[in-house]
Symmetry: D3
Subunit: 177 residues, 6 copies
């Protein structure tokens, strides 16, 4: 981490500590360069916490399903905990991480995860028919942009985390079980 | 696109028009939401144009190799042109896009692209030995962070572009041939 | 389940209830046919609880790594809990389930899991060199038989469980966290 | 092999010799440990020779199709011979071993082999729709259990055989041609 | 190349030079053995230039799509140029080479390329239903033979070119852009 | 088949009947067009029967190994018989068809089949190091051309045969067992 941290960063980390009880290791991993940290957090916060037709839980479900395909240790632990927290259903978090098809999902969420899965494993075969399936399940074109963006974002973070061997904070493991 | 565009965005687009002769379609695709546009351009500019032990050409080579594996139409066209431009070698751009192993590369660039390829196709198998191979080829740990980040970023953009069917500007096709 | 259960089966279930606090759902799933239940439990008990040069924890690690590749909901939940219990290390169980390469393993356990992984994903390429790598890591030929047998067994149970949609007992999820 | 063989094992081997003209090498391979041999033969005999809605030929067809995907030398030779014998159709055995889709099958057997194939290659994607396809082809839920169990069993034996390099008896090769 | 070249070969090369402005490197690569050169050119000319229900452009589209899957440097360059030339559409050539699904195709050409793709990636799963899909799109059985033959031919040439590292003539790169 | 067959074709078929006891179905499949038949047989005869540093048996071994990966019913049956015939070893033919790694091969033949396998499954990754491995095993560059050509040729014929559903002559099945 750069020393000293800029005030804005310090404050952001204090908020994390207060609200989450920890500073997520991914933030510390980026903190050797404040610009990189800022671009990461700006994109993360917009995608995962900003306005969207997708609920926060749905966005976290996409995060975990993508991370499960990519077997990303960091993201499975951190976002698995988020699914457990947001859903209040500890088993749902494990289902997303282990095999999302075992979860009882409505047609909307199933369509959403099928699209995220296809984008992850064979994005080049995505066609208008795949987008139409999302519309048929009730998603708007803006929602489709968000599904694609969230799935794509975790295809990025999974690879950064695996590429530089990021390890998740220990506190995630036992939380919301 | 939001109407009217904020001044900063308008200026950014004007700079694009002036320097590139076009506004890249990816920017227009994000311009329905200025926050999303900004987070995308901030990350892109930091990664591809900011300080790094990797040359801009090397970063574009990673972009094209990743996009070739993912068969992303938008990124292959736009970043293939960038490799042609930055290298002054039109054939190199096509080699990166069609099959990077056909290019005559020094040990450094070969190691860099092998790592980017592995992160793209089986990121979960990345191990310390893979990072050590980069160090042995002369890369610092900061460089490794940048290789991973650039490879990961295009694993994101490839999927956004394919997910929402972005089409590259026609001007790329004939440029720097 | 057949009604009434034969005495021996009833006793076996009582022992499970007493020692594990539950009757594992896999046993109930087989109990429609006592012969099938008996052949399953006989093989399971011999492989996982019988004499072997592999510790019980090592056998459970193989079980989870194989089940992770096959994304078997039942086995990941049940045997992930077993790794947590036997190792006293809740994080180790999640590492095995999410991405075993993130675990710090000695050369012996790494060789063991590489062999189990190869048997699971491309068994037809197993060659004498693969067995020699196990011998070099200190395993005897009898140990190799056991590694192969345990890895193979979970390649069976994963497919039975997924094929007929077995669900693990809820009690596993929160245990040994 | 343990020396001397227990009486029951000796008798079982004698029956093999009498009925098959050989002791299958897989039995000799397990005979270093009578308990392992017994658990293997008990499960094998229940699955392949016990009561089932599947004919013995159908079970052998599943065995060969699974072994073909896994390229298991032992099982392709031994169970290919069994398909030739039970069907009285030497070409059918080769079709199952080389490419089952070239065989003219009725809807029932095609559905059965599609399910066995999916369980072998991507078991985690097995869903209720796959089981419904079997029911639509006339299979009961008990039959589905048997299809899954037989397919799963050969996913086990293929890996034991490849893992420890079992070689089939030479007598299989020319038989029932 | 054999020295001197037989008269017929010399004439053939002169025709190439005159009509194409170059002698394609593949011909020079085969010219160490005139019989091999002749069998190659005879098959090539029959398939790509002979009578067929497929237009020459369609055959070149198949060539590029197959070569894209196999990432064949030589064939992507040479036949990418041919698609640009025959279609008069420089972008179409790049679409075929980078990701054919991004091209706007009519139902006939889409069916043709889906079949070529399947033959390339999982030929053993080709079934009557796949051929029927081609008939439904307007192709005759003779046309199907030609689609299969052209797709298969480039699955051969891709592997010869990659196997012996053939490099395409430089003149292809800038042509018909 | 065209009627009447040209004299040369008729004679060729008569020779087949005399020497092989049959007219291979592949020839009949091509005989609807004499030019296609001739280009096929010319290439086949040059590659499989012409001068080469590879023995005829070695070429047939490549044919079967490639066809095994592609699961081509026609070629596995016809060339499996050829390996049985040329080697006088019926088991060797089955090993090549089922899993070539189970065969005891010298370093030369193992290197040859590894190269053929790589060309078949991931030809784009073939590099100078792969060719050097062949040279180290005693092959000349001309031999490498032949290995690549034979492996490539069967990657073609496998796809024609599967694409148009060619069935091998029944006489192959029982021969040379």
């Amino acid at each position: 981490m750069v020393e000293p941290l800029p005030d804005a960063t310090r404050k952001y980390f204090d908020v994390c500590q207060e609200k989450l009880g920890m500073i997520p290791n991914v933030l510390k991993a980026y903190a050797f360069d404040v610009e990189k940290l800022n671009t990461f957090t700006a994109m993360y916060n917009d995608l995962m916490l900003g306005d969207s037709g997708l609920s926060k839980l749905e966005r976290e479900m996409i995060a975990v399903v993508v991370s499960s395909i990519n077997k990303c240790w960091y993201c499975l632990v951190a976002h698995g905990a988020a699914v457990r927290q947001l859903s209040g259903d500890p088993v749902l978090g494990e289902r997303m991480a282990f095999n999302w098809r075992t979860a009882k999902l409505d047609a909307r969420q199933r369509a959403m995860l099928l699209f995220a899965e296809k984008l992850t494993t064979e994005s080049h075969k995505t066609e208008e028919a795949d987008r139409q399936a999302l519309r048929d399940a009730g998603f708007s074109d803006r929602d489709i942009f968000d599904i694609a963006s969230v799935a794509a974002f975790f295809n990025m973070t999974n690879r950064v985390a695996s590429g530089v061997a990021m390890a998740p904070n220990d506190d995630y493991h036992g939380s919301f079980r």
